[in-house]
């Protein structure tokens, strides 16, 4: 069972300026990080349960915590995967999804099964690739996009 209370409590503790401004000793900063991390784990379960309930599908949901540094083991290794984009805003949004992927061409389909434009961009001065596509997400809701590798196709080089 999932639980958001530990994250709730960790966030409450982190209201203190020590947690955000650097005005704590290193071991205290480490403890703030521990509380956040331990709070997030049961929250992931809670989110998985909610998404399973709302989508009607029981999935092994994955949360990539290192997307900001272009690391996500699932998208970088899987031949096909689903991207669930949740929009907490009270209006629909058009949002560019960026995911680290392997050196392939990908086919992206929207929730209605229609192919949407996508790009694989190689990051300069590294050998990593990122998949980009634009996701339309309803107000306070989610959209599920499916991504699959296109076999025997090499990605076009962006310039």
């Amino acid at each position: 069972s999932g639980d958001s209370a530990p994250l709730n409590e960790a966030m409450a503790v982190l209201q203190h300026h020590d947690a955000v401004s650097g005005t704590s000793r290193q071991h205290v900063a480490n403890d703030y990080a521990r509380q956040l991390s331990e709070g997030w784990r049961p929250c992931e379960v809670l989110m998985s349960n909610a998404l399973a309930h709302l989508s009607g599908l029981k999935e092994d949901f994955a949360f990539c915590r290192k997307l900001n540094i272009s690391i996500c083991p699932l998208t970088q290794t899987a031949e096909r995967f689903q991207v669930i984009v949740y929009n907490p805003l009270g209006r629909k949004v058009d949002w560019m999804v960026r995911l680290p992927v392997s050196k392939h061409v990908y086919l992206v389909k929207d929730p209605g099964g229609k192919i949407v434009p996508s790009d694989v961009v190689t990051i300069p001065s590294s050998d990593s690739q990122e998949l980009l596509f634009s996701a339309l997400v309803p107000a306070v809701g989610f959209s599920i996009y499916s991504v699959s590798q296109m076999p025997n196709q090499r990605p076009q080089k962006s310039w």
Partner: protein, 281 residues
């Protein structure tokens, strides 16, 4: 010296081909053109002087001189153009880089910076800023928000409720920036949205700066008992500044909606697919 430009239907950003620095921003929708130079600088942290023994530290920002130093006068650049994104990758040094990004249908310029580990082998604590310099006649005024709610007018070297004797020309003009800072000449407005709380200021007319990272070697003696010299993942910082150029009348509508999208950003969850049907019953 070929042109270095990224552009969509709303914005055009031009970069100096010699330095690789951003040099011009144009709002194509509203026909606004603003020469703007953005670069990274660092303040040398004070360890105390003959006026005060106060050192720059976790609680205190106190540079030892008013002028910050360039991280680098130029950036090594890579231009990436694909159908869904245009990016200029700027490498300023081994510890400071930035990607300037424009997506289709986007009305702001995205600056994603990565700073760290700040080198301190020279024995100098450093406080790194990103600064935007324009020719806007801002008359000593700039604006910062208060916890994403009220926008407050800030006036350089001035406090509204007492007669200020300014003894720290840099730190004494720094204010909290929780979600946005902007400058305007009454016609044009340059707004920078932040993805986290930072310190910011406008130390000269037309200029706007935000502190992105710091690493210090001396404790400020305010109770922490350690210099602000974090270890581990705290050595690196990656963040984003969203830059908007608008007419003053339309600027608020744009930056408010965009800031909402920053604070309540879409969340991504992934799955392998092919899961079993699930009913709560």
């Amino acid at each position: 010296s070929r042109d270095l430009v990224i552009q969509n239907e709303y914005l055009r950003a031009r970069f100096d081909p010699n330095t690789g620095l951003l040099m011009e921003l144009e709002n194509l929708e509203q026909n606004l053109l603003l020469p703007v130079r953005q670069a990274f600088y660092w303040y040398n942290a004070s360890t105390g002087n003959n006026l005060s023994s106060q050192a720059s530290g976790a609680y205190i920002f106190r540079p030892n001189q008013n002028k910050p130093l360039f991280v680098s006068h130029w950036a090594q650049t890579h231009l990436v153009k694909a159908s869904l994104v245009q990016e200029v990758h700027q490498n300023f040094s081994a510890w400071c880089s930035q990607v300037v990004r424009l997506y289709p249908r986007q009305r702001h310029l995205e600056l994603e910076w990565t700073v760290g580990p700040i080198p301190v082998g020279d024995g100098w604590g450093k406080e790194v800023i990103s600064r935007f310099d324009t020719a806007l006649a801002t008359r000593g005024l700039f604006y910062t928000d208060s916890n994403g709610r009220e926008i407050l007018e800030r006036r350089r070297n001035y406090r509204p409720t007492w007669k200020l004797n300014q003894t720290e020309p840099v730190a004494g003009n720094y204010y909290p920036v929780n979600s946005r800072i902007y400058i305007t000449d009454g016609n044009m407005q340059l707004t920078v949205l932040t993805d986290r709380s930072q310190g910011g200021s406008s130390l000269r007319d037309g200029s706007l700066e935000l502190m992105v990272h710091r690493r210090l070697l001396k404790d400020d003696a305010r109770g922490v008992g350690e210099p602000l010299n974090k270890e581990g993942s705290g050595l690196w910082v990656r963040g984003r500044h969203l830059v908007l150029l608008d007419k003053k009348e339309t600027a608020a509508a744009r930056h408010r909606l965009q800031a909402e999208m920053e604070v309540l950003a879409p969340q991504v969850v992934l799955a392998q697919g092919g899961g079993a049907r699930y009913r709560l019953e």
